[in-house]
């Protein structure tokens, strides 16, 4: 948990490193900072610690989640290429610092023991993301995205806070284990029923968190914000924010409210089905690769929520494996999208449509191959990490005795076949469509990251037990 303190200090030192006016030093410095934080994180392995007056708690589950978050942050920073060389309009020191600060918020969201910490972590993460979304100040789309995200995001945070207040009213505790006891006591007093205070509180907390992971029907901001934000920050948003949001949702629902499963389980069934259907069906109609990835991130929120809903003992490791597979594949896809869309820019505007990928494989075999593997992984084709992610999630749902899960599974499997259609669009464009993409020069670090993520995706697809045993 010293990672939180270390990352905050590193963020501040990053701000001051920016005054050296040396772009070359920032990228390696940030990577080293994240690696140090990762090392500090592993120090908590196999212990159950309470931190800061019972505000945070670390255990193996939280260490694993923090590892995924820091790994995603590392990969995103590694493909950032120092944010170009436009000295006047881009501020790499500030961007890196904000990325580190938002990682702090994400870590708080997976380790919180007190709802106050959940709120603080969520706000650190969200406010950083509002700023980064609008960081391309001269682009109208980026400004629009930042404003939309800010208005809707702060509204959602308000709803979450209202829920926290109501739950406090019902159980007189902010502590997540204290709430669990309060809920059990309230249930006992009322003879198995639960009062309107607890009911509305739990629902409002759920709404606030589901907004952040963009589950339908709270997903309306996602396509515009993901599309408008600079690609590098979209990659960060769709991996780190999603992982932290799902982990926080799972943590509060599984620890505080397991005894009132019916209260949050029933609405969540509809939310999962709606998320799967809306995310996948709408993604089919997209012309822009980036927008398609936004809808794909909505649909993956649906798959992740299935296992939260199934509430099995294996849910922990399934969530972790799915998040890891999804994060690696998504970052690879964005890495390819970034360089290709810049190389295909028309009138100074990056081209993010599927047509930009036409004929990619002729001159850039590495980019095309990485793209293919990441798309296969997102679609859940065997021999990639995504297949086992889906496999674990679906088997969780299958082993739940309730017959309702058979129907959820039917929808989920139908929707992943729909997914295969749109995930193959970029592959077909890269290998079969006629087009010309000039050879794109990649830095050694960029190449290394592409090879690393692709290898990891295949490796986890061949031998999922490598990490499944740890999780």
């Amino acid at each position: 948990m010293n990672a939180i303190i270390a990352l905050s200090l590193f963020g501040i030192s990053n701000l001051f490193l920016g005054f050296l006016n040396n772009r070359k030093i920032l990228l390696p410095a940030t990577l080293v900072f994240i690696l140090i934080a990762l090392g500090l994180n592993f120090a908590d392995w196999n212990h159950e610690y309470y931190w800061f007056n019972n505000m945070l708690k670390t255990n193996n589950l939280s260490v694993n989640f923090v590892t995924i978050i820091l790994l995603s942050t590392f990969l995103v920073v590694a493909i950032s290429r120092s944010f170009g060389d436009d000295d006047e309009h881009s501020h790499p020191a500030e961007y890196y610092a904000i990325l580190l600060f938002s990682a702090v918020g994400a870590i708080m969201m997976v380790t919180f023991e007190n709802l106050i910490m959940l709120f603080v972590g969520l706000e650190i993460l969200s406010v950083s993301m509002y700023v980064l979304t609008g960081s391309d100040k001269r682009s109208l789309r980026s400004n629009e995205a930042a404003l939309k995200y800010f208005l809707m995001g702060s509204f959602a945070t308000g709803i979450l806070l209202f829920g926290v207040a109501l739950v406090y009213g019902a159980t007189s505790s902010f502590d997540i284990h204290g709430i669990a006891q309060g809920v059990a006591k309230a249930k006992e007093q009322m003879g198995g029923a639960y009062g309107p205070l607890l009911y509305s509180g739990v629902i409002l907390i759920m709404v606030g968190l589901l907004f952040k992971i963009s589950a339908a029907p709270f997903h309306f901001w996602t396509p515009d914000v993901y599309d408008g934000a600079p690609s590098i920050f979209t990659a960060f948003m769709s991996t780190v924010v999603k992982t932290a949001g799902v982990a926080a949702t799972y943590r509060i629902l599984s620890i505080s409210f397991p005894s009132v499963y019916g209260l949050w389980g029933n609405p969540l069934v509809y939310i999962v089905c709606a998320t799967l259907i809306i995310g996948n069906i709408t993604a089919v109609y997209q012309q822009s690769f980036k927008r398609m990835l936004a809808y794909s991130s909505i649909s993956h929120a649906g798959y992740l929520l299935i296992t939260v809903l199934a509430k099995r003992p294996e849910t922990n490791s399934s969530l972790l494996f799915y998040s890891l597979a999804y994060a690696i594949a998504t970052i690879t896809a964005f890495a390819v999208l970034m360089v290709v869309s810049e190389a295909q820019a028309k009138n100074g505007k990056a081209d993010e449509s599927f047509e930009a990928l036409n004929g990619l494989a002729n001159n850039n075999p590495l980019l095309a191959f990485s793209l293919t593997i990441s798309m296969l992984s997102l679609a859940g084709i065997p021999l990639t990490a995504g297949f086992f992610g889906k496999f674990f999630v679906f088997s969780d749902a299958f082993s739940n005795p309730s017959s309702l899960f058979k129907w959820i599974l039917v929808i989920a499997i139908l929707m992943s076949t729909v997914g295969i259609y749109y995930y193959f669009k970029p592959i077909i464009a890269a290998y079969m469509k006629k087009g010309e993409v000039a050879k794109i020069e990649l830095s050694p670090l960029y190449k290394f990251i592409l090879i690393l993520t692709t290898t990891l995706t295949i490796l986890l697809g061949l031998a999922p037990d490598l990490v499944k045993n740890i999780f």
Partner: protein
């Protein structure tokens, strides 16, 4: 009679506050003289004559200065509760004076973090108010200035 919960007291406070304000305003309306004139009805602007519309755009730099001001304003708010526990005689006696040093260091850490923020804003140049720089044109006329002087002399008589 049932006991009030803690939230009940808060509700009573809210009701009492609303009733109090309403009663006082109503009483004031009953006993005060009512002689409005134009001066009394204008907007109060520290004795200045209000001029123009209030709905104009402010320079963005006002916000940066306001933000830094708020930062230190909030710092003062945190210093007040700290000051009450810092000089707590019982705690100091119990810890042989260690408590005083501990709380002093804690507060220096807090102020130090804020100072780092100020230093950042300073180096970034957010504290420099832009002065309008007069740009002189670099055009050099082929006509010498003495010519103008001669013309002035010639026609001034």
């Amino acid at each position: 009679m049932t006991m009030l919960t803690d939230f009940g007291y808060i509700l009573l406070f809210i009701i009492a506050a609303i009733v109090f304000v309403a009663v006082i305003l109503f009483l004031a309306k009953l006993i005060r003289p009512n002689r409005p004139n134009e001066e009394k009805l204008t907007t109060y602007e520290s004795g200045e004559e209000p001029d123009g519309n209030a709905n104009v755009r402010f320079n963005i730099r006002f916000y940066v200065v306001a933000l830094i001001f708020i930062l230190f304003d909030v710092e003062i708010i945190f210093l007040f509760p700290w000051a009450t526990v810092f000089g707590n005689k019982r705690l100091i006696a119990e810890t042989d004076g260690l408590w005083g040093w501990f709380s002093l260091v804690e507060m220096f850490v807090f102020v130090g973090v804020l100072l780092i923020g100020l230093a950042y804003a300073w180096i970034k140049g957010h504290l420099d108010w832009v002065r309008p720089e007069v740009k002189t044109t670099e055009y050099e006329s082929k006509i010498p200035t003495s010519l103008y002087d001669k013309i002035n002399q010639k026609y001034s008589q």
